[in-house]
């Protein structure tokens, strides 16, 4: 049920983001979803890609610091209050969301949200217990 995200450290200076996307593009890696968190000095680029191993290898070869993180992809009903239902469930279980971002593609009628939780496994269990659809990584990478 875990989805593998790759995270990349980038200095806050011009051209770095373009460099990352160029390296991935040249290697034929497709970006499925992304989020960029930034401070005045640096940023962390988080990506879901179709080929994690290749993405990691080519970026490391070019000297970037790259890590893998387990995140969770959840289908969210595409209507007002859809996301709120999920967050209420997690709040009730005292599970923290470290960060979240939206997936580009829809899954049928639903949107897909990527979550990074402080307790990944417990979060997955509570979401499944409440009947939410948690997506398998393999399905997501190829969407």
């Amino acid at each position: 049920m875990h989805v593998e995200q790759i995270s990349i450290f980038i200095e806050n200076k011009s051209g770095r983001l373009a460099e990352v996307t160029r390296i991935l593009g040249d290697a034929g890696v497709n970006i499925r979803a992304l989020s960029l968190a930034d401070t005045s000095d640096f940023g962390i680029l988080r990506l879901i890609v179709n080929d994690r191993e290749k993405a990691k290898a080519v970026l490391k070869e070019k000297g970037f610091t790259v890590s893998k993180t387990d995140v969770v992809a959840v289908e969210v009903p595409d209507r007002p209050g859809g996301l709120s239902l999920i967050l209420q469930t997690l709040d009730g279980e005292n599970i923290n969301v470290e960060y979240m971002y939206a997936f580009v593609e829809r899954c049928g009628e639903n949107a897909v949200i990527i979550f990074r939780f402080d307790e990944t496994d417990r979060a997955i269990k509570s979401l499944l217990d409440k009947g939410f659809n948690v997506l398998e990584g393999e399905r997501l990478y190829g969407m």
Partner: protein, 437 residues
Amino acid sequence: MRAMMFNEEFETLPRQALEALQLKRLQSMLERVYANVPFYRTAFDRAGIRPDDVRSLQDLQRLPFTTKQNMRDSYPYGLFAAPMEEIVRIHASSGTTGKPTVVGYTQKDIETWTELMARTFVTAGAHKGDIIHNAYGYGLFTGGLGAHYGAERLGASVIPISGGNTKRQIMIMQDFGSTVLTCTPSYALFMAEEAKIEGVDFRNLKLRVGIFGAEPWSEAMRVEIEEKLNLTALDIYGLSEIMGPGVAQECYVAKSGLHIWEDHFIPEIIDPETCQVVPEGTKGELVITTITKQGIPLVRYRTRDITSITYEPCACGRTHARLARLSGRSDDMIIIRGVNVFPSQIESILVGIEGVEPHYLLIVDRQDNLDTLEVHVEVDERLFSDEIKVLQALSRSIEKEIKDMLGVTSRVKLVEPKTIQRSEGKATRVIDKRKLV
């Protein structure tokens, strides 16, 4: 058991005999410079002292100092005490500011240097049969040739690889079976990084001893080098003005301080502000008088290096005094809002933090009339997190350590790995923008 020595008689001279020899050699050197070097004749006359007034080692303190500026003013040969026909070698230090400082060696000087460098190798545990990989630069810089001659005198096999081309260095260390490595400590760590990229494991190499110097380094850096290069890392000290490498060397027996060859050099430690000699064990600036040199003898040369001295007996059996690990240079010292800071102090703090590499850059600037210190630290995989708050907490904790240890407020900036310039010689650690305006 007494350690192996190259010249046991002189290396173990009882203190009284050593001091008697020093005084005799000092007096003879003072006579020579007074007779042959106009700079010294003028300086001694101005200080109201003549060579024959020096009747004890204590009297040394009455003599004037020699500074790097005096050497620059005498560029190139003004301080030479021997005629040019007797000079067989000329070296020069890199002139980062203006002209280089030039030194000349007579044949006897080369022989002395060679012996002291051979002593130095044995002190570090090297011996005949070793394969010495000499990555100090060959050329005007004294490092390469100085170590080379000593290694040959020892009867070891020396590989005169010089600096640069790290991939080839690693290949040669691997294929030639190098057992002793000589280079700067920062270059040793750079080699470790390159070897990792090349897939070379230092545990499969034959390296046993590393003799590292030409820039200040820390005890924490020693631990890291020993672990990454799988060898015993020892500290060497030298400077071209005094001779070159091999002025002082840490012994592998005690691994506690560098024996300075007192039968050729008289060390003193002074307070760099008051210029007064400080008591044994107190930190200050190292001052050296060369007592056997012929080409360019120097009287009370201010090295600008910060250390302390001990005359305590050493476990290795040598009677020569020991210098503490060099902790910086009085002219590397940066004053930030009135606080004296040595780059090596910041290095110790960084190396103490798990995952932080000892590659760093200090940028000193002035904003709104206040000094600012920015510390660039590389983020590698061990430090990296996908969460901003974790990385920010890391920056804050380094800033707090620096504040707690040095009393200076700094701003830590995390930068991408390998973006801080690596040096194959002496590393650049400080950019002081205050001097540019």
